[in-house]
């Protein structure tokens, strides 16, 4: 695949020059992490898919505004997060999707283990719903997007210290919920 070894910032430079192949490379590299973040944050696959498209279209349309001084990943997640927050403000949190957990493939073939794993995932879904949007976004960005505290602070417009505290609180809420009856 062309551009496989290029940095995100080099791909953005190529995209600014009109390269559709650079766009494809950026999509291939980031769509899974971004979709996981959006789907877990919104709790709705359909809305997450819509916002995934919208985010990448904005990357293309705003490619001339991107400055390599900021990491591309931070810029990408800032766009996605703003869209998601805007969606939440307008429509509120969607109803939880029961098939959301069912759709997750399970590598373990044993029926008992499969049931256990499915229950764990269902409990994780429910636990995440206990968090405030702020705690949820920080947790998801840290755990699934693999972003540093400094990057999350940049995306959410706060400080790394505030991110640390929010993440700690989010994990305590989850722990309390998951260890409950």
């Amino acid at each position: 695949m062309p551009f496989r070894d290029e940095s995100d910032e080099a791909l953005m430079e190529a995209l600014r020059g009109g390269s559709a192949a650079a766009f494809q490379a950026l999509y291939e590299r980031h769509h899974r992490g971004l979709f996981t973040f959006l789907a877990r944050f919104l709790g709705d696959r359909g809305q997450a898919e819509e916002l995934l498209q919208e985010t990448f279209l904005r990357v293309y349309l705003n490619r001339d505004r991107y400055r390599p001084v900021a990491a591309f990943r931070t810029w990408l997640y800032t766009i996605a997060r703003n869209l998601a927050l805007d969606r939440l403000r307008r429509h509120g949190l969607p109803e939880a999707e029961p098939e959301f957990v069912e759709a997750i493939p399970d590598p373990d073939p044993g029926p008992l283990r499969r049931l256990e794993a499915r229950e764990t995932l269902a409990r994780l879904d429910a636990a995440l719903a206990q968090l405030t949007p702020r705690q949820r976004e920080v947790l998801l960005l840290a755990r699934y997007a693999g972003l540093s505290h400094a990057e999350i602070a940049e995306i959410t417009g706060s400080s790394p210290e505030a991110v640390r505290v929010t993440l700690h609180r989010a994990l305590r809420v989850l722990r309390r919920f998951l260890s409950g009856p």
Binding site: G17, A48, L124
Partner: protein, 219 residues
């Protein structure tokens, strides 16, 4: 509690720096050796963090990627066609190509080249073939000019530039060709102009593919 010179509340605010990492800040590490409560808090955080790792990543509908790609390809082409700098380079290349083509026709008039071509292809193709070949010989003049200009400026997508330059080349050269072909029969003139267009477009496209890094983008 105070251990290694730091308070528990200071340490707890920094425990998340440990998550997903082999080790954490030096001051916190020292405190954890002596403070059981903070060590247990870290272990609990790590356990929850690990549990979250069981949640697999999600994959969107593959059609989304394909749809996005189609849309961006189209927008990218549209933007490239509308970009004025591309047309400026194409106009410059076309003007140089027209100058060379007219200069060549003054040295070797169209009639002379047609006669030469007729000798070469007389036994192989019908009469119109000679006009076609002669036209192509003139048309190929701006070969690579647009591409070379694009190459010097580092602009991608030269196949588009080659097409733009060829189009302008043919428009600029048309009046001169019409005057020069007035003595040809209509079918011969049509063959000559067709050869000219084919030579110009084919030459530019071939050159745009041959120059490294400036062929059409891979899909």
């Amino acid at each position: 509690m105070k251990g290694s010179g730091v308070e528990c509340h200071e340490v707890r605010d920094r425990l998340t720096e440990w998550l997903g990492a082999e080790t954490g800040p030096e001051a916190v590490r020292g405190h954890l050796v002596t403070c059981r409560a903070c060590a247990e808090e870290l272990a609990a955080l790590q356990e929850t963090w690990g549990l979250l790792g069981q949640w697999p990543g999600l994959e969107p509908d593959p059609a989304i990627g394909r749809r996005l790609q189609r849309k961006v390809r189209w927008w990218s082409l549209r933007d490239a066609v509308l970009a004025p700098e591309g047309w400026r380079a194409a106009a410059l290349a076309a003007a140089i190509g027209v100058g060379l083509s007219i200069g060549m026709s003054l040295l070797i008039p169209y009639n002379t080249l047609v006669a030469l071509c007729r000798q070469v292809v007389a036994d192989l193709v019908p009469e119109a073939g000679a006009f076609l070949l002669a036209g192509a010989a003139y048309g190929v003049m701006p070969l690579a000019l647009r591409v070379l200009i694009g190459w010097r400026r580092g602009s991608p997508g030269s196949w588009l530039g080659a097409t733009e330059a060829t189009l302008l080349f043919l428009i600029f050269l048309a009046p001169y060709v019409i005057v020069q072909c007035r003595e040809f029969a209509p079918s011969a003139a049509a063959s000559f102009v067709g050869g000219l267009a084919l030579g110009a477009l084919g030459g530019s496209l071939v050159a745009s593919r041959l120059l490294p890094g400036h062929g059409p983008e891979p899909g």
